[in-house]
């Protein structure tokens, strides 16, 4: 009776308030096999959706109607319909998909298959596997440049960035960076790529025209041993002003001037901060904190942490739907 009431109340709450809500944030909880849905206005969890085993990378379709979920231990990519919050489809993904990136054409999904040293390219409309590309050991980070020209994969144990030509599906160039590269983020104009190396403790800035490293930065968090400073997720503001770098078990996010590469501040968040996403107007940055099982909300203007929101166990990825 009680649970029925609660469900009804929840449904009513969601049903009633959904249209009026500010944008929603989706968080994948790696060890709960769920997604937490957060209303970014009230900064509260408004729903928890059951998904496949070990959900890690998540991303939105370009029309913001679907959420793609890497269900790593189910060896599949699930497709969640955002309107109904139901899994409506699965895509062939290759084994152990961890991170992925969607081409601006809204069709080609590049999936890093961590256990197989392969990047799989799937057409999400036909579910056809277009290519499987051999990369280094433990492919992890995936990014497609906004102009659609490059797909970049990071291989953790090989410590390389593999630059995949999106027309030929072949690797045009490999760049060795610091140990255990995790994540790549392109600037809006596709001219610069930022890549983090978790064990190396570095972030590498790559000039995309020449495919050469133009800068390497490391971080020093006051009072934290250097080997705990481990860059993972990166998020860039679209105005080119800031780069935010999640520094893993140092429990801080670095704020970097994206033009001069000067480190402006370190913000204390939850334990083992992993991934980041900005909301639509870029006033708030959400971080997933794997060990403390919460999400920190950073006020971008004030550069202050304003809230921490409890989610599921081992929150991994976060995306904020600008259209909801």
């Amino acid at each position: 009776m009680k649970s029925l009431f609660r469900q009804t109340a929840l449904a009513a709450l969601v049903g009633l308030s959904a249209p009026a809500l500010a944008s929603l944030a989706y968080v994948s909880n790696e060890k709960d096999n769920t997604l937490s849905v957060i209303d970014t206005e009230s900064q509260q969890v408004v729903d928890t959706i059951e998904v496949g085993a070990r959900p890690r990378g998540i991303l939105l379709s370009k029309d913001f109607t679907k959420l793609y979920i890497c269900a790593s231990d189910d060896d599949t990519v699930q497709v969640l319909d955002l309107a109904t919050r139901k899994i409506v489809d699965t895509l062939p993904s290759g084994e152990d998909p961890e991170q992925f990136a969607l081409h601006p054409n809204n069709k080609h999904l590049y999936i890093a298959n961590e256990d197989d040293a392969i990047v799989t390219v799937v057409d999400v409309t036909t579910k056809e596997v277009l290519a499987q590309i051999d990369v280094g050991i433990e492919p992890e980070g995936m990014a497609v440049s906004p102009d659609g020209k490059w797909a970049v994969n990071t291989s953790e144990t090989t410590s390389m960035l593999h630059w995949i030509n999106t027309e030929t599906f072949e690797i045009d160039k490999n760049i060795v960076i610091g140990q255990r590269p995790r994540h790549v983020e392109f600037s809006n104009d596709s001219k610069v790529a930022w890549a983090s190396a978790e064990i190396g403790g570095t972030v590498h800035i790559i000039d995309v025209d020449n495919l050469e490293q133009i800068h390497e930065m490391s971080f020093k968090v006051p009072g934290v041993n250097q080997d705990r400073v481990q860059p993972v997720g990166i998020e860039l503001t679209s105005d080119g002003k800031y780069a935010f770098v999640a520094l893993g078990p140092s429990n801080h996010v670095a704020v970097v001037d994206a033009k001069t590469y000067e480190i402006l501040d370190y913000l204390l968040v939850g334990s083992r901060v992993w991934q980041l996403d900005l909301n639509k107007d870029e006033t708030q940055l959400y971080t997933t904190n794997g060990v403390s099982g919460d999400v920190s909300v950073i006020d971008v203007e004030a550069l202050k942490v304003i809230k921490s929101i409890k989610v599921g166990r081992y929150p991994w990825g976060v995306v904020i739907d600008p259209n909801s």
Partner: protein, 391 residues
């Protein structure tokens, strides 16, 4: 004198990394692997025997890892494994490989064999010890060309000592088996106990020779009779009687040490920091779980691969210099970058404390601090070792 040299290394590295990869030279890296494990003798607890290829399969996995990276760089890696049946055969296998031009080695053998092998090593031959946890090899009997990827007994028992202190279980009952390894483990533990303020209330040698599978419940409670203790520490390296200590103690107390909850270089239950990927890669290769010996051999071969990738060279002298430089760091699924201690060549590393089906903690335990790196709270720190293999 040191600074200009490291500057040059940095410069060379930047130049190299700026070069397009197809321009890099083809390099063939040959690594020799020699294994000799003496017969442990009959043990009471022989239900779950140790795999005979422990170590070898770890080296093989690392060769695969190196090769995948190498194919993008024009570097190839081959492992020549020799599993010997005696100490003498191990030394001969080493010499034969050396004569074939191999100058990079991983040795999985006891300390005495390792010492005999180092006596036959050419001036620049670089050797990784993946099989002996012997403290003397790190405290006084060091060799400039010998590096250690397996944690020493002192590192393991320091991990345990920190944990006991953190739990405030600082009064313990120590049971030590009869073998030389048991004695070495126990004396390492006594040192750790002193270091972290753990008091050994009873320090008893194991002398019973009955088959405990029939009589454990009768003999062990009497053996562990004492006024009070917070935990029982077992030193039984080969796994003779130790498995029968848990749940059979006089007082209802946990059992730690070589059985019960153990400090290990590696264990199946380690999964954080990407370890799950290494575990599944290993399982696919070997069809069994990865042991500490596998991990140590893997770390040795990966150290070489990492250095070759970054340096673009494979001669032992250059590799050794690079591995001890501040450009070197090994990503090894323990949540920190691993480096080698300059004074004795030991690979610094966190030590997981595990029970057979779960991870309890990972040392260094938070709160045990060190001016350089917390990992140096485990094992023989510079002032405690007489070795200075880098001058």
């Amino acid at each position: 004198m040191f600074r200009p040299a490291s500057l040059i290394v940095t410069l060379v590295f930047s130049l190299l990394s700026a070069l397009p990869l197809h321009a890099s030279e083809t390099i063939a890296v040959k690594i020799g692997y020699v294994q000799w494990a003496p017969d442990q003798g009959p043990v009471l607890s022989n239900v779950l025997p140790e795999p005979e290829d422990a170590g070898l399969r770890g080296a093989e996995l690392a060769i695969n890892d190196n090769s995948t990276t190498g194919k993008f760089m024009g570097h190839t890696y081959t492992l020549t494994p020799k599993v010997a049946e005696s100490e003498q055969a191990a030394v001969e296998a080493f010499e034969a490989l050396q004569q074939q031009g191999v100058d990079l080695f991983v040795i999985n053998a006891p300390a005495s064999t390792l010492t005999a092998i180092m006596d036959k090593a050419a001036t620049d031959t670089l050797v990784f010890n993946s099989g002996s946890p012997d403290d003397a090899l790190r405290a006084s009997k060091c060799n400039p060309n010998l590096l250690h990827t397996l944690p020493s007994y002192a590192m393991l028992t320091d991990a345990l000592g920190q944990w006991l202190k953190m739990r405030r279980w600082s009064r313990v009952f120590l049971i030590t088996g009869p073998t030389a390894a048991d004695q070495a483990w126990a004396s390492a533990f006594r040192r750790s106990a002193k270091r972290f303020g753990v008091k050994i209330m009873e320090d008893k040698p194991w002398t019973f020779d009955a088959d405990l599978r029939r009589t454990a419940s009768k003999e062990l409670p009497l053996f562990t009779q004492a006024n009070d203790y917070a935990a029982v520490v077992v030193a039984d390296v080969r796994g003779d009687f130790g498995e029968y200590v848990p749940f059979n103690t006089w007082l209802p107390r946990p059992v730690v040490g070589t059985q019960g909850m153990s400090p290990e270089a590696w264990h199946r239950v380690v999964e954080s920091w990407g370890a799950a990927q290494l575990q599944s890669r290993f399982y696919d290769l070997a069809g069994r779980d990865m042991t500490s010996e596998d991990y140590a051999a893997w770390a040795a071969v990966r150290s070489l691969g990492t250095a070759v990738t970054q340096l673009g060279k494979a001669d032992p002298k250059s590799l050794r210099r690079f591995i001890f430089s501040d450009r070197f760091q090994l990503a090894a699924f323990k949540g920190r970058q691993l480096t080698y201690r300059l004074w004795n060549g030991q690979l610094r590393q966190p030590i997981p404390l595990v029970h057979p089906r779960g991870l309890v903690a990972s040392a260094p335990i938070e709160g045990f601090i060190h001016p350089k790196t917390e990992m140096d709270t485990l094992g023989l720190d510079e002032p405690e070792s007489a070795c200075r293999i880098n001058g």
